[in-house]
């Protein structure tokens, strides 16, 4: 096997700095030729842009497992009872979708805000607070849906259909709360002027994914329950 001695990759001034599309050799390939650590940190990588896809993949696998369990369990026995979904779920869906829109508005405003054109736009923090509020309202709405089912006498162990309803909605709500933690983190970082673009992007991707996941779950529950 021949020894290959490669020149270190040249730094392309047009590509500096990278905009977050990691993977092709990583951000670190932009380190200047003397390999100085402190300069490297200025081009600090944004592993969160990769990591968020990793997280979303794990969540997808988790809900895929729950979904297949639902299909198998429904098909394995005749004891499956259907019930009508509480109508508040549709209202909650609108809340979650609206929160995605507000987060997207704030994400765009942050770009302008942090780009030094502060005076032209109002602070994006307001939109983040609205997102936070809508998210909390969604979780509260889910709680109301559980109360409705309880009032109908449908508990976790009443029937496999209600079991799956509670398991799927509760797991999703926990993940939504995790996303709200991300939004709070973004608000804190923004107020300290230490927000990284990649952090905001990752939070937004996660949040939009929660909306998409909820649409899928709603469809699944509507079809199967």
């Amino acid at each position: 096997m021949a020894t290959t001695v490669y020149e270190p990759p040249k730094i392309d001034p047009d590509r500096l700095p990278d905009r977050g599309h990691s993977g092709n050799g990583g951000w670190r390939n932009l380190v200047p030729s003397d390999g100085d650590l402190h300069v490297a940190l200025d081009y600090s990588p944004a592993p969160s842009s990769t990591a968020i896809w990793v997280v979303l993949f794990a969540i997808t696998m988790m809900f895929a497992a729950f979904s297949s369990a639902l299909f198998v369990r429904k098909g394995s026995s005749l004891d499956w009872r259907t019930f009508t979904l509480p109508s508040i779920l549709y209202f909650n869906t609108l809340l979650l979708l609206a929160s995605s829109v507000t987060l997207e508005v704030s994400r765009r405003r942050v770009a302008t805000f942090m780009g030094g054109r502060k005076s032209q736009v109002e602070s994006p923090a307001r939109w983040l607070y609205i997102t936070l509020f809508l998210g909390l309202l969604f979780v509260a709405g889910q709680y109301v849906a559980w109360l409705r089912l309880r009032a109908e006498g449908l508990y976790l162990a009443t029937n496999p259909s209600s079991s799956f309803f509670y398991v799927l909605t509760a797991t999703h709500a926990l993940h939504v709360l995790g996303g709200l933690g991300g939004v709070v983190h973004v608000i804190r970082k923004l107020s300290n002027s230490a927000l990284r673009r990649s952090t905001l992007d990752a939070t937004a991707r996660y949040w939009h994914f929660m909306g998409g996941l909820w649409l899928y779950l709603l469809f699944l529950l509507w079809m199967k329950l």
């Binding site: 021949a2 993977g23 990591a51 198998v72 394995s76 162990a157």
Partner: protein
Amino acid sequence: MHDMSAHAVQHHAPPTSFIRKYVFSLDHKVIGKQYYALALLAALSGMVLSWLMRIHLGWTNAAIPGLQLLSKNGAPGGVMTPEYYLQLMTMHGTIMVFFVLTTAPFAAFGNFFLPIQVGAEDMPFPRFNMMSFWVTFLAFVVLMSSFFLGDGPTLGGWTQYAPLNAVGSVGGPGQGLGVVLWALSIALFCIGQLLGALNFISSTLDLRVKGMSLMRLPLSAWGWFITSCMGLTAFAVLLPACILVILDHVAGTSFFVASSLVINDQLLPHSGGSTLLWQHLFWFFGHPEVYIAIVPGIGMVSHILITNMRKPMLSQRVLIYCMGALAVLSYMVYGHHMFVSGMNPFSSLAFSFPTLVITIPATIVVLIWTFSLYGSKLRINSASLFALGFISMFVSGGVSGFFLAQPSIDIMLHATYFVVGHFHMVMGVAAMFGIFAATYFWFPKMVGRMMNETLGKIHFWLSFVGAYCIFMPFHYLGMAGNVRRYSTFVNDFLQPLIPVHRLITIAALLTGVAQLIFVYNLIHSRFWGKPAPDNPWEGTSLEWSTATPPPWDNFGGKLPIVYHDPFQYGVQSSVGDYVMQASPEQVKTEHEEK
């Protein structure tokens, strides 16, 4: 527009307090050592459990002094009951598979060396990394607590088949609280490993230094990276399965327990659950888990062999593709664990085919090793011996897999010691040999001292011969029809096989004692070993370019630049027959000079 702050938030300052340095450390190297210590503790616990089981199998009525202290009901007078045998067996399997074979080769060595080999100062998310270890540690504590709470640990085996895993305490000792603790422990373990996988994948993709293309990663780094991808998929499925089991126990749901089930004359209130559902969810995790245990070993052993052969593998690229193929195929074969479960026979056929196909990348890996070793001047040391031992165990255990892959043969052998012998060799002992090889190889870098080579070689030969004495007869027992999971074979058709069991027990005890040599060597060398130079094995990857042991930011404030492929041996450079990845020196191979 790029990052909005000038400072990278993922990098942490050097630790100053004792707690931050050694307990809740953010440093991937300390976390790696913590994982190693946990795996060592777990391995010793699991080994003691296997001794207890083996003594009982050989001498059924013999009292084991002190065992009654561990469980008054399980071992009255020191003689274990059949139920307690099953409880010990379950704990042995769970501890070994999760807390040894997953944590040591993947989490321990991967944590310590993956960031250094890619040229990073740390993992990208040190806090998640710290949580990963402590959640795993908590999982271990929860699991071990089941020895002392309620009526002991669960007896359902490490696979925890339904419906036994969900019927509650009516199913036997440990089937109430024991199962809940087991499922809780494994759920926590899944969370810990998912956090770990997040860091491993992001490190490999995002934190590589300048010049470090993916194909320039050493094979060990590839092993860890591929394993983290597998772990991400597998543990994300086991976690919901554990949640459903816990709900069946504590909330009265019926996911896994069928209708009208009567156990111990008691009609269960559950209805309509699917017992096969658990097996599907479990084995979707369970089979990749086998590769999670072995693929880091394949990577590390390749790395160690190359360094000691002083020449590259025949094809690094093909080895990487084979590890990737093993990872992908591992998700398509899981049904071969369920040939006797009552699954549709057509499904068995569908799972049998990829099971035979997966032997192809495994065989290619072995052939690459064999033909690379051919004609090489292998440096014989403890690490290379254990690497050779890994290949030997991997092949010996793997060959029986060809038989088991076929449903018609598997139906006969499935519930016998043949399968026990198969998986102990190919996944258990082989992975352990990989861990030992990696320990002898990387210990100098991890603690700054050399291990004792003589003791290492004695440890190897005793372990190598001992492992064959233990696990080869298992195959014979299986073919003779010796069923597995039974606690005793007195007074039945298996009685004539008891002498074989006694031989195995003696071999297991002696091989176990030989492991104490390793533990002594580890502790003695840690404090009184010969100080290690920076590059004792004349290696080329980045961990050998930095100080021994590495400083907290791995490279002392200067990031390396990578100029070479990972294993440039058999060349003439200013330092010898190798050129390091971070060396800008231009070299020619002997071949090119001719």
